[in-house]
Amino acid sequence: MKYRSVFDIIGPVMIGPSSSHTAGAARIGRIARKLFNDCPDRVEVTLYGSFAQTYRGHGTDVALAAGLLGFDASDPRLPDALTIAAGQRMAVSFNADTETQVEHPNMARLHLTKGDNVLDLVGASIGGGKIEITEVDGFSISLSGSNPALLVLHRDKYGAVAEVAGLIAKYEMNISYMEVARHEKGHVAMMVIQTDEEIGEGLATEISALPNMLNVAVLS
């Protein structure tokens, strides 16, 4: 089931005007910022489908910038996000691709850079402010962002998954959903782990310290 909580239907509390084009866009931007774990110098955004057609009217660009600044969808600073981003020297550019046929009517690809640090992410806004992250750095994943989640980039070595799962068990937490995506055997892989409980900093730090871990991001 796509929607699990009554607060997906009655909620979120947000700045208007559109849950899919404003709140959903802010959430996609915010997840990108959290996974990037730094303030990017440059973000290139490509908009698809209805996002591409109507982004100016809905403030989709403003909302994505707000998310990239780390604001949530109810942050009163949201309407001024483009100005604030410019003030923080975060250059955000928008490109509307009305040609490419996409799976979901509201999709955006975000390419974040700062020096050597690069993140490429694809998100879809599926209605009522709910989103789905469908791709991170070329890994096809499925992440709703409505449950607490861990994204772990790691070397594709035996035991890596078991050690992470073991640590989660140590914290007496339950995994509600998990997937592992990779391009090639033996190289780099990505674990997506959703949990029932909130994920604390302690767990994230312990996972980072495990062998073979390259990057750990927490979504709460």
Partner: protein, 300 residues
């Protein structure tokens, strides 16, 4: 856990509980959070809704484009003249639905129910019924859980996205949710709630999403307004004992099917319907063309 309206009504009848209570207990089961936490979070949402309504009917609201704002106040003024044709309850609800969407269009704070574009129907209907039914705060919070329960079924079996299913999926869903919740607020049964939703949503089938200039303003604000009136009328019909011949779940499936067959021009792309009329296109050019924003305001 329930997947369909039939299961939802069945659970309520078997346990002899209102739909709102089934929703709260389901939320406790799926999230592990406490009754008090869940209830107070919904009470916070109610506060946000009430503030948006109050802003819309008392303050001078204008969207950035200048397309919307001020109509909720016009309606309140007209209401106080005592000349209303459709009656005080209905028109008050309509005005309060508009108030919410006017605040939304002006980038104010609202609570999506189920979306921002359709955020006016559920609170508009509720606050329109307050004077007549005099509900307690608990009953008002419960109204939102009931609306949420029915919306939950629609969202999981069809869609609440205008880009996916047109306006029937947004204002249509909101109208069905509000109708069902109004029935419980007025003391009706879970089965009557289901009939009210089926009657309301059935009446909205085929409604396209055609925002002028791509903005959540024209015709969204007025569609929410009339959605609230439809919700109250559908609730009254169900409370009178009128049944929908087509079961609620089948109406939801029909809405989903209609949405899938709907051309992209009618699904929030601003390429069809009112957005594609000569005046709709002119307004778009004015807002996003060379003309300054102030000229749009002047021409209102």
């Amino acid at each position: 856990m329930f997947r369909t309206v039939e299961e939802l009504v069945g659970l309520a009848q078997d346990r002899n509980l209102p739909v709102s209570e089934v929703m709260i207990q389901t939320e406790i089961e799926t999230t592990g959070k406490s009754y008090a936490d869940i209830f107070s979070r919904m009470a916070d949402n109610l506060d946000v809704m009430e503030k948006a309504v109050q802003r819309g009917i008392h303050e001078e609201i204008r969207s950035h484009s200048g397309l919307t704002g001020g109509d909720a106040r016009l309606l309140q003024k007209y209401l106080s003249s005592g000349r209303s044709l459709s009656g005080d309850v209905l028109l008050d609800a309509v005005s309060k639905a508009m108030a919410t969407n006017e605040v939304n269009a002006a980038m104010g704070t609202i609570c999506a129910t189920p979306t921002a574009g359709s955020a006016g129907v559920v609170p508009g209907t509720l606050f329109g019924l307050v004077r007549k039914l005099q509900p307690s705060q608990e009953q008002m919070v419960r109204y939102l859980f009931t609306a949420g329960a029915f919306g939950f079924v629609i969202a999981n079996n069809a869609s609440i996205s205008g880009a996916a299913g047109g306006c029937q999926a947004e204002v249509g869903s909101a109208t069905g949710m509000a109708a069902a919740a109004a029935v419980e607020l007025a003391g009706g049964t879970p089965s009557q709630s289901a009939h009210a939703m089926a009657i309301a949503l059935g009446n909205m089938l085929g409604l396209i999403c055609d925002p002028v200039a791509g903005l959540v303003e024209v015709p969204c604000v007025k569609r929410n307004a009339i959605g609230a009136s439809t919700a109250i009328v559908a609730a009254d019909m169900a409370l009178a004992g009128i049944q929908s011949k087509i079961p609620c779940d089948e109406v939801i499936d029909a809405m989903h099917q209609v949405g899938r067959m709907m051309p992209a021009a009618f699904r929030e792309t601003a390429q069809g319907g009112l957005a594609n009329t000569p005046t709709g296109k002119k307004l778009k050019d004015k807002i996003f063309g060379q003309a300054a924003r102030s000229s749009v305001l002047d021409n209102r």
